[in-house]
């Protein structure tokens, strides 16, 4: 698109402002991770790297991190399976109520977290008489992670013509072989992207988790919430937050690279995986 020089400059400024808006608070968090005193004051009274050591040593923080990882991986796995199944059904078949599936799948994410959390918690404790535990947390997370995987998968399936699958069938492959050798490879990168986003959602989720977690367990967000206001722990919390962001640069970038290359045909048709990631079905 041809834009005048002035428009170009204005646009760049707007982008700069947008990015600055996004990153200033993160930079503040980063600064406070080095805050010498545990009281939050601006400007900080001094800088130190002590908190990084303390954070790594903090046993409860490590446990919480592990719990979050466990919950995230299992929830993502469940979401991958269920989301893929649902998307295959909707993209490749016609049946009654097909349109409502898309609507249904987005509900857990569109409705307020507190509603989802209380509803699921209520069902477990009152209706089923089951104790709250990491399992119930996983169920809650998987429920809203499904939509992310579903979105990605179905966007990709709609993009990739079904003629490949028909050809495969014509050549004598049965359903499972077709899926394994034709459908799945073209779906793979979309699932990676969906899985990553689902994991990110689960990893940072606090509201549904608050209502579905048992007494003795803590996910990372719950640990953060508990320590957020305690003056001696706050810097450690900031450190943990900074570390998580830094560590996640790698998978995010990798996902982008992977999917850009693989989704070759898809990209040519004017879309990338990020596009699929946030499409509403």
């Amino acid at each position: 698109m041809r834009l005048s020089r002035r428009a170009h400059i204005l646009l760049r400024i707007a982008v700069g402002v947008g990015l600055a808006f996004i990153y200033v608070p993160l930079i503040v968090i980063g600064i406070y991770a080095f805050n010498a005193s545990s009281v939050i004051r601006w400007p900080p009274s001094g800088l130190t790297v002590d908190w990084f050591g303390r954070a790594v040593e903090d046993e409860l923080a490590r446990e919480a991190l592990l719990t979050s990882l466990k919950a995230g991986l299992v929830a993502t796995a469940i979401a991958l399976v269920l989301g893929t199944l649902a998307s295959l059904a909707v993209a490749r078949h016609r049946f009654f109520g097909r349109e409502t599936i898309s609507f249904l799948v987005i509900l857990p994410i569109a409705l307020p977290g507190i509603v989802t959390g209380v509803a699921i918690s209520n069902t477990f404790t009152q209706v089923l008489g089951v104790d709250l535990s990491l399992l119930t947390v996983i169920v809650g997370h998987a429920t809203f992670c499904i939509v992310v995987v579903y979105n990605n998968a179905i966007a990709r399936l709609r993009r990739v013509s079904s003629s490949f699958e028909e050809a495969s069938a014509d050549l004598g492959a049965h359903t499972w072989q077709t899926f394994r050798f034709v459908t799945f490879p073209s779906l793979r990168s979309a699932l990676v992207a969906g899985g990553l986003l689902a994991f990110a959602l689960s990893f940072d989720e606090i509201i549904v988790t608050t209502f579905t977690i048992g007494a003795g367990e803590e996910t990372l967000p719950i640990w953060i919430f508990r320590n957020l206001f305690r003056p001696n722990q706050l810097p450690i919390v900031n450190v943990v937050a900074v570390l998580v962001v830094l560590v996640s640069i790698v998978p995010v970038y990798l996902a982008h690279r992977l999917t850009r290359e693989e989704g070759g045909t898809a990209a040519a048709r004017g879309g990338t995986v990020e596009a699929e990631a946030t499409a509403v079905p």
């Binding site: 808006f21 503040v28 993009r159 990110a200 957020l228 900031n238 990020e274 596009a275």
Partner: protein, 284 residues
């Protein structure tokens, strides 16, 4: 074994669809919708004031309270208004960034920007809100930065909630708009320009209508996330949002909390239906 199963399903597409759907439907319909239904039925029950036991008789008492007490109208109105304000703000802020990413950035620039926009999603929601709390506090960064100009930060309150929520959900708006813009073939834009349209006209007549469904798709997230949040209002303000009211009543009066929870559900379902009409659900 898989061969047998596969040939079984081969000639029976409906059955295949059914088998594929069994898992997801079971989970979502029976599990999730069922839980919602149980919760919402409770909206028609009442509670014994002392023991807190739920009395399962049918009653419209909760809804009467919702309609009669002016405070609940205030709370709902406030929440919806701020949700709308946040959505608009994010659409405005996100568009330039998304446009630049989709149409003007080099391949490398695109990669960097995508990572840059996605990265904050990986930092903890709580830590971000708390960072804003410290930034907005009386001795915080904002006041410190504005003081030389004789200005003053907004402090805690509804403005703060609007500001923080716009901040939190911005990536959720950038990505769909970016996706929507990417889908617009460059050839379409070139054609419009070749036909003599100014960039502004091209934007208004060609780009905007095509990207609008994507904006609506993004707005679903910004609107619903604002509608249900209770942590941000608690941390950066004194005001009560729908989420706060629900949260405060869960202990003593679950039926009333359920009735309150019905409000955002109804609002969101309506919003989703409108969004579907506007094409947000059709992307390919």
């Amino acid at each position: 074994m898989s061969r047998r199963l596969a040939s079984f399903f081969n000639g029976r597409p409906r059955l295949q669809a059914g088998a594929l759907l069994a898992g997801p439907i079971g989970w979502l319909v029976i599990g999730y919708l069922g839980s919602l239904a149980v919760l919402l039925i409770a909206a028609f029950w009442t509670v014994d004031p002392l023991s807190g036991e739920v009395i399962q008789g049918f009653s419209l008492e909760n809804f009467e309270t919702l309609f009669d007490e002016p405070v609940y109208r205030d709370i709902v109105g406030r929440t919806v208004l701020i949700a709308a304000a946040v959505t608009l703000t994010d659409a405005v802020l996100a568009f330039p960034v998304a446009f630049y990413m989709a149409k003007l950035a080099s391949r490398r620039g695109k990669a960097i920007l995508v990572v840059a926009v996605l990265l904050p999603l990986w930092s903890s929601y709580l830590v971000k809100v708390y960072a804003w709390r410290t930034m907005l506090s009386a001795d915080g960064v904002l006041n410190w930065a504005l003081e030389p100009f004789g200005l003053h930060g907004p402090g805690f309150g509804e403005t703060a909630v609007w500001l923080v929520m716009s901040y939190l959900w911005l990536p959720y708006m950038v990505l769909p708009i970016y996706a929507g813009l990417e889908r617009i073939p460059d050839s379409l834009i070139s054609a419009s320009e070749d036909l003599g349209a100014s960039p502004l006209t091209t934007f208004r007549r060609v780009i905007l209508p095509l990207v609008f469904p994507a904006v609506v798709a993004g707005s679903i997230f910004t609107f619903s996330l604002t509608l249900g949040d209770y942590i941000t209002p608690r941390l950066v303000s004194n005001t009560q949002f729908i989420g706060n009211a629900v949260f405060n009543n869960i202990v003593n009066n679950l039926p009333f909390a359920s009735a309150l929870a019905l409000v955002p559900i109804v609002v969101m379902v309506a919003y989703l239906l409108v969004a579907r009409r506007l094409g947000a659900f059709e992307h390919v």
